[in-house]
């Protein structure tokens, strides 16, 4: 089947030397295949090599302690594996399991199509049990986002959304590089396929609701 635009873009990123995404190192081998590993494990030769993208979901779902990872872009990807992928189609499928939706977001970003949504707008759109999340105050939002989204221990995405329509930064507690799509949020300073956050995730909305409820 013909390669999709997304797969061709992924090939271009590999050629450009974007050799990492989040905590994953992507090695492009001479025979056109790819080898993935946890960036911390890149030098290890003693690891089991899984072949095929279908293993990615299981590896992405649980951390080193076998706890469920509700946020795949949290910096707690499990260690101790390598994965061999036969072509760009498989590479894309695997990365879509490890970091769901992130390739598509970066592809849209590169094409100037990635629409961001202010935090307040996301909250105001909620219904049902999440409706009250919109009652979170500015100070509480600043604190919550600064804590919940931080790259060390929270989430490895670069935040592109603003807190409101007038462009307030998401949190004064976060360093400027948290909003820079070119920055390696994993802290190693490598050229990376960035993990972009174009709109607050459901987990952050749920936390905002929790903050509002706790304050009542």
């Amino acid at each position: 089947m013909r390669a999709l635009a997304q797969e061709r873009a992924l090939g271009d990123w590999a050629v450009k030397g974007l050799g990492c995404i989040g905590q994953i190192a992507i090695e492009s081998l001479d025979d056109g295949t790819f080898l993935l590993s946890h960036r911390d494990d890149a030098g290890r030769a003693d690891l089991t090599i899984h072949s095929g993208a279908e293993h990615a979901d299981r590896l992405a779902r649980f951390d080193d302690a076998e706890n469920y990872r509700p946020l795949k872009t949290a910096p707690n990807l499990r260690h101790g594996w390598k994965m061999s992928l036969s072509d760009l189609e498989e590479l894309r499928l695997a990365l879509d399991h490890f970091y769901p939706g992130r390739l598509a977001a970066f592809f849209a970003f590169e094409n100037g199509d990635l629409v961001t949504t202010p935090f307040r707008e996301t909250l105001e759109r909620q219904s049902g049990m999440y409706r009250i999340a919109a009652q979170i105050s500015e100070e509480e939002s600043d604190e919550l986002i600064g804590n919940f989204c931080r790259s060390d221990g929270g989430c490895l995405r670069a935040i592109l959304w603003r807190r409101d329509r007038i462009g307030t930064l998401p949190s004064t507690k976060l360093p400027p590089e948290k909003f820079d799509p070119g920055h390696d949020q994993a802290g190693a300073g490598g050229p990376v396929i960035p993990l972009l956050c174009q709109e607050a995730c459901n987990l952050l909305v749920a936390e905002a609701r929790r903050v509002v409820q706790a304050g009542r």
């Binding site: 999709l4 979901d57 879509d96 598509a104 849209a108 199509d113 995730c201």
Partner: protein, 268 residues
């Protein structure tokens, strides 16, 4: 099956921030469908997991993809299919045109499909092989009392359809949180053999923990799913959630194809 290589498929699931098994059937069905090469691209998105429904707005950015079929992997119509999915995916009706010329078609939830009755029956036969249906009661169990869906009504409808076929001694729809209650099953059934099929999309806490407890099973026992469990002189056969059935992949495809046809008929 006709190929639709200008069409992509988006399967929408609920997902969970606490239950690792919630999204697995949806992902599994997506893999199955992808391997059949019927669609140009196949993706999933979830309300409570990544990728989110909002993320899905940026999927399928390939000029060859002209149509996207959105199939909710839900048991019934309800709050999610009527409110959350259209809002998050910015769907304005059965057909929504996008700025890039793509048309997104909103399909019926899988649980609405007419083949569901047949699958429930097949599932029941598979967990209780060799048990004569005439001497057994079939329980279709659902959540009940939920503002979020109409799964109780859907289960009731399925029980009625199966009852009309006259195969089982009795067919009952029972619920976790409203009468007729699952926990009352011993009083509500008369046959020695009782077959239970959870009318759920995934094996989550409900089908692994809550329902077995309501039935009086050890949860580990229910999970092992090895033939009959003996309780107070009855033989209880417990199935996994109907949504884990590999045949659900076919239903997802059929829901997508049905919507394509319907829309093209209404246009021509």
């Amino acid at each position: 099956m006709e190929n639709s290589l200008d069409t992509a498929l988006l399967i929408v699931g609920h997902g969970s921030t606490v239950n690792p098994f919630s999204s697995m059937p949806t992902l599994m069905h997506a893999t199955t469908i992808r391997q059949r090469h019927i669609f140009a691209d196949v993706a999933c998105c979830f309300w409570k997991e990544e990728p989110s429904l909002r993320d899905a707005l940026f999927f399928f950015r390939d000029p060859a993809i002209r149509e996207v079929c959105v199939v909710p992997n839900f048991i019934s119509e309800g709050y999610f299919t009527r409110t959350v999915i259209p809002r998050e995916l910015e769907l304005s009706g059965p057909e929504t045109g996008r700025a890039n010329g793509q048309v997104w078609k909103y399909c019926e939830p899988v649980g609405n499909h007419e083949s569901m009755t047949g699958y429930l029956l097949e599932r029941a036969r598979e967990v209780a092989p060799g048990v004569p249906e005439r001497e057994a009661t079939l329980l279709i169990v659902a959540h009940g009392t939920s503002l979020n869906d109409n799964s109780a009504i859907a289960a009731k409808l399925q029980a009625e359809k199966i009852r009309q076929r006259g195969l089982y001694a009795a067919v009952l729809n029972l619920y976790m949180e409203e009468p007729p209650l699952i926990s009352d099953w011993l009083n509500l059934t008369e046959t020695r053999n009782v077959v239970v099929v959870p009318f759920f999309i995934s094996d989550g806490l409900h089908s692994y923990e809550d329902i077995p407890v309501l039935l009086g099973l050890e949860t580990a026992q229910a999970r092992a799913e090895s033939g009959a469990q003996e309780i107070q002189g009855r033989s209880l056969f417990y199935s996994t959630a109907i949504g884990t059935d590999s045949r659900f992949a076919d239903v997802i495809i059929e829901q997508a194809m049905a919507q394509r046809k319907q829309v093209s008929q209404s246009v021509s």
